[in-house]
């Protein structure tokens, strides 16, 4: 019992304890995944929405890796989502129907693009980075539009056939398999990302974000680190795109649209960037808000979206997670004061 307690509450008095503190899984995190998994049986009517949330969370998570941890601003992260989606869709269409293999190949394709384009974002100011990432995404969209004979152009890529996952679980029309599949992939990749950002490598990334010049002077090969994380994030986004294509069995030009990249940024800020949970919580909040607003004002929900964005930037530093953390600190502070009296 004591061993379990000390696992969840490491000793923060020592340096090792402080470094280890974020590495340990807290009970709340474990509870979250259990609830998420149990929703497969508890809320079967909502699995389609849940599936979308899981995929979105993975996509935003990938943006969090480059923006929240490495400080690379991007307005074109949707490019990798699109490449992954088209890769998985095309594989499915041309008789290569194993989902997991498709996922890996799509991730590799997006990762390759990420590796090649990562050299473009190493130079220049924030504006240059924004423009280059945006430009790459726009070029890809134009390409997908022009090569309509391959991608289906504006009509979208139809006829994507998917075999059962691992040869066991057939995709059903209610989306149960889809959600279970997406959630499993999200969990695995979340776990990997969690290990990654808490490793020395993750600490280095945060140092680069803080001050890349000084980090370089300390002997960290900053460019090398940034290329790596950009490629990893691209793989993540590609896998998210592949999940999207496989579970909906359809790919349209929409996956490469500007609003995908902008939404991801928004969600990340809404949830709280620089924290992996920010991506997950932001996606949940965004999808629920979207569902709710789109039901009331289908045409004008963007207005409220914009308003939320403006308000977050003006008043809510750190998004939902930041708000939770600061109110928790405030509460602890008040309680501490009360106890002292």
């Amino acid at each position: 019992m004591f061993a379990l307690l000390s696992y969840f509450r490491p000793d923060t008095a020592t340096a090792a304890g402080t470094l280890l503190a974020p590495v340990r899984w807290r009970p709340l995190e474990i509870l979250f995944w259990l609830v998420a998994a149990s929703l497969l049986w508890l809320a079967p009517s909502k699995v389609l929405l849940l599936n979308e949330i899981a995929i979105l969370a993975l996509f935003v998570l990938s943006l969090d890796l480059i923006l929240g941890y490495a400080g690379i601003v991007s307005l074109g992260h949707g490019a990798f989502l699109g490449v992954g989606a088209y890769a998985a869709g095309l594989l499915g269409k041309h008789g290569f129907t194993d989902p997991v293999m498709g996922l890996l190949i799509a991730g590799a394709a997006a990762g390759l693009l990420g590796f090649v384009t990562s050299f473009l974002v190493l130079r220049g100011t924030d504006l240059t980075k924004l423009m280059v990432t945006l430009g790459v995404a726009l070029i890809l969209r134009e390409l997908a539009n022009k090569f309509g004979n391959i991608t289906g152009g504006a009509d979208g890529l139809t006829g994507v056939v998917m075999g059962p996952v691992l040869g066991l679980f057939e995709f059903d029309i209610f989306g149960k398999t889809a959600y279970g599949y997406s959630l499993t992939v999200l969990f695995i990749l979340f776990y990997v990302a969690r290990r990654l950002v808490n490793s020395p490598y993750g600490l280095m990334l945060r140092a680069i974000k803080g001050n890349s010049l000084r980090t370089g002077a300390m002997g960290v090969p900053t460019n090398h680190r940034l290329v790596t994380i950009y490629t990893i994030a691209a793989v993540y986004a590609g896998i998210a795109g592949a999940l999207l294509a496989q579970t909906s069995q359809f790919v349209s030009l929409d996956v490469l649209d500007f609003h995908r990249s902008a939404d991801a940024l928004l969600i990340l800020v809404l949830g709280g960037s620089g924290q992996l949970w920010g991506a997950v919580i932001g996606s949940i909040a965004f999808k629920i808000m979207y569902d709710y607003l789109a039901a009331i004002t289908p045409q004008y929900w963007q207005f409220w979206l914009g308003l939320v964005l403006v308000l977050i930037v003006l008043f809510g530093k750190g998004g939902i997670l930041g708000f939770v953390n600061s109110s928790r600190e405030w509460l602890a502070h008040r309680l501490g004061k009360g106890a002292a009296k």
Binding site: L75, L120, T125, L127, L130, L138, K146, Y300, F303, V313
Partner: protein, 286 residues
Amino acid sequence: MLTILFDGFAYGMILFVLACGLSVTLGLMNFINLAHGAFAMAGGYLTVVLMNRFGVSFFLCIPAGFLVSAALGVVLERTLYVRLYARSHLDQVLFSIGLVFMAVSAIDYFMGAQQQLITLPPSLQGRVSLFGIQVGIYRLFVIAICLVLAVALQLILSRTRFGSQLRAAVDDARVARGLGINVSLIFTVTFAFGSGLAGLGGVLGAEILGMDPTFPLKFMIYFLVVISVGGATTLTGPLLASILLGIADVAGKYYVPTVGSFIIYTIMVVVLILRPQGLFGRANAR
């Protein structure tokens, strides 16, 4: 051939007027304002409403578009933008995208999603023969206005007291304040002027570019291309860049319509890789 060159030139000049306000806020005040197109849209829609509902002359709409957008700029700058000068670029991007979303939906709500059309006054319609080529009178008119504006702007920035105060305020706001320069007033005026120019561009471009609620999003990319390719530290850079872009876009659509905007994006990315500070920009410490 020459007509295409000319049309592209006129198109580029409008882009310049639309973008130069952004070049001022971005290059001089170091603020990434993606909502710049919303000010242009305000000018454009003002023209549509004034002309089609109230029958106001087009010539009156030109100064009106400038003034209303500038006033809008003052209000927003004083209430919202002023809080974001010191924030990170990411915050500025998010904030201004939020504004764009709101503007797009609001216009959609009040004016409808269809494209708005205006009828030019008869004196600006038709074509004349100039050095043997047929040119539209309206396009000639636009080019004339834009050229005058470009020269005037350059003179204001480089020759007047206000221009040097602005440059001082941007280089080091604290020292400028210490020297008795009212920095926040200068920023407000500059921002208002930039927004006003956007509004003016919106009025002039309403006929050529077309006005619909997605205008700010559609042209945001063009503005940013102009600024990032031209470099935001001078005015001549964006001017040349927008003329190039205008001609390339019009010619591209005429000769190779299937390639679409592909060329422009590719050029932009290539330019930015080779010269991150823009074609004509100086290397900037900031």
